[in-house]
Each structure stands twice: as structure tokens, then as C-alpha cells.
Symmetry: C2
Subunit: 112 residues, 2 copies
DNA sequence: CTGATCTGCAACCACAAGGTTGTACGTTAG
DNA sequence: CTAACGTACAACCTTGTGGTTGCAGATCAG
């Protein structure tokens, strides 16, 4: 559990990668089905190079993987990192609930 | 469930707010216990104004709330948005698992 | 009142982000 | 072989981000 934590810069890259609507949509697309970069690029109203950059950002964040298939580059999802991010946010939320629980306990004790 | 979805720009702001180590730490701190901006600022090796900006980013993302307490500004956590973010990431992961399930089903059918 | 403290905001700066176009290279189709 | 396609990468521009300093306005202590 502790071992699958990421370094600060890795979390930075991960959340930064998710902070763009186009990139989140790319993640959705390749989670549903792996696609080539050019196939992806056709979906968006921007240049091929721009989409290529978005994929590179996602790859550096560990959210997708690329794999050569002849002259194409097949992009597919990597759900592991996604899972880690969700669990980190859960842990933040949990801290809140622990604290709320502690306050409740304190109030209950004061009433005795 | 559909009603508590956010707009694209809101998700952008949310994940962007989380994409900085200092800001994630501020979230942790104020989830544990609400604090004034100056108290927070003492924890980090940067100017008061910088911390103030970070808090502003978190506030625009809906991750924290500010509340005047005399001359101080009390910052406390807002776990609702955190929860939404975690569930969005879960839904992305779920798409992957649905797809994996469909592939398994397809393979099982081919074997008959 | 006076002075210290907490905050808000504007101006400024260096650098990274997100987009463009252009060029080059490997691969497949005919 | 040649042409078309998919990709990679560099140069460039504009905008935004993260930091600074400095100043002004509230508020509390004495």
C-alpha cells in the first residue's frame, strides 16, 4: 500500500495530465478501445501535432501506453495510475471523515 | 448522479488545483484542521502572497472554503468536490473493466 | 491613538503550456 | 520505384502559471 505511492512530481504530472478536457476525453477513448494517434486526432478540432503532444503528456503521466504496430502507434489505456489517483483522493476525504468523527466523539464526551 | 457532474472547465480547475505539491499539502492540512492563511504560510518556504494565491486556486476549484474570523481568514476543507473527482476517476477505470469483461465474453463465445 | 498583524491586490518577471506550421523519416500500397 | 500515410520533432507565438516585492486596508493589543 505504501509501496505503490508515487513521488510528488509523479502526482503533479498525473493531475496536470487530467486537468485538460481534451486529454480526459482521450483517456476515455483509449480506455474504451486502443487507437492510433491519427485516428484520435480526427476526433478533435486541432492539428495532429497538438494531439500528439497531449498523448505525450498522458504517457509521461503513466495514464496511457504507446505501442508500435507497423507504421502506426497504437495508444491504449493504463488504468493502474488512474486507480492510484482515485485512492489518493479517497484518502484525503477519509482524513476529513476521521476528523469529523473525532469531533463527534469529543462532543459526546462533553455531554456526559 | 448525473446532476452532480461538473462542467468541463470545472473539472479542469479541479485537477489543475490538485496538480501542485504545495496545494495538495494545503488540502491535507485544512482537511485535518481549518487554519488561517498566515498559519499555513509559515509551513512553506515561500512568500505569504504565494500561499495566498495557492489558496485562491483551491477555492476557485471548490476544494476549500474561506470564512472571515475577525482579521483572520479561516480556510477549511470542502470534501464534496474531492469525492466527485475520485468518482470520475473510478468511472474511467470502470470503462476499462467493462471493456475487459466484453473481451473475455467474446473469447469465451469463440471457444464454443 | 499607535503599532503590529493578517489580508488583498497590483505590477512585474521567468518559464512552462498549448497551440500552430514546417520538415524529415520510416512504412505500406500500387 | 513512387506516392501516400503515420509519426516525430523543432521552431515559434501567445497566454497562463508560480513566484516575487510593494503598498493599502482592516482589525486587534496595549
Amino acid at each position: 500500500m505504501v509501496a505503490d505511492q508515487l513521488a510528488d512530481e509523479e502526482w503533479d504530472r498525473l493531475f496536470h495530465a487530467l486537468s485538460d478536457t481534451t486529454r480526459r476525453d482521450i483517456v476515455l477513448q483509449v480506455m474504451r478501445q486502443g487507437q492510433s494517434i491519427s485516428t484520435l486526432a480526427r476526433r478533435y478540432d486541432m492539428s495532429f501535432a497538438a494531439v500528439q503532444k497531449h498523448v505525450a503528456v498522458l504517457e509521461r503521466a503513466g495514464l496511457v501506453h504507446k505501442e508500435r504496430r507497423g507504421r502506426e502507434q497504437h495508444v491504449h489505456g493504463a488504468p493502474v495510475v488512474l486507480h492510484k489517483a482515485a485512492r489518493l483522493l479517497d484518502s484525503y476525504e477519509l482524513i476529513w471523515r476521521h476528523r469529523a468523527q473525532a469531533i463527534d466523539a469529543l462532543l459526546a464526551e462533553e455531554e456526559t
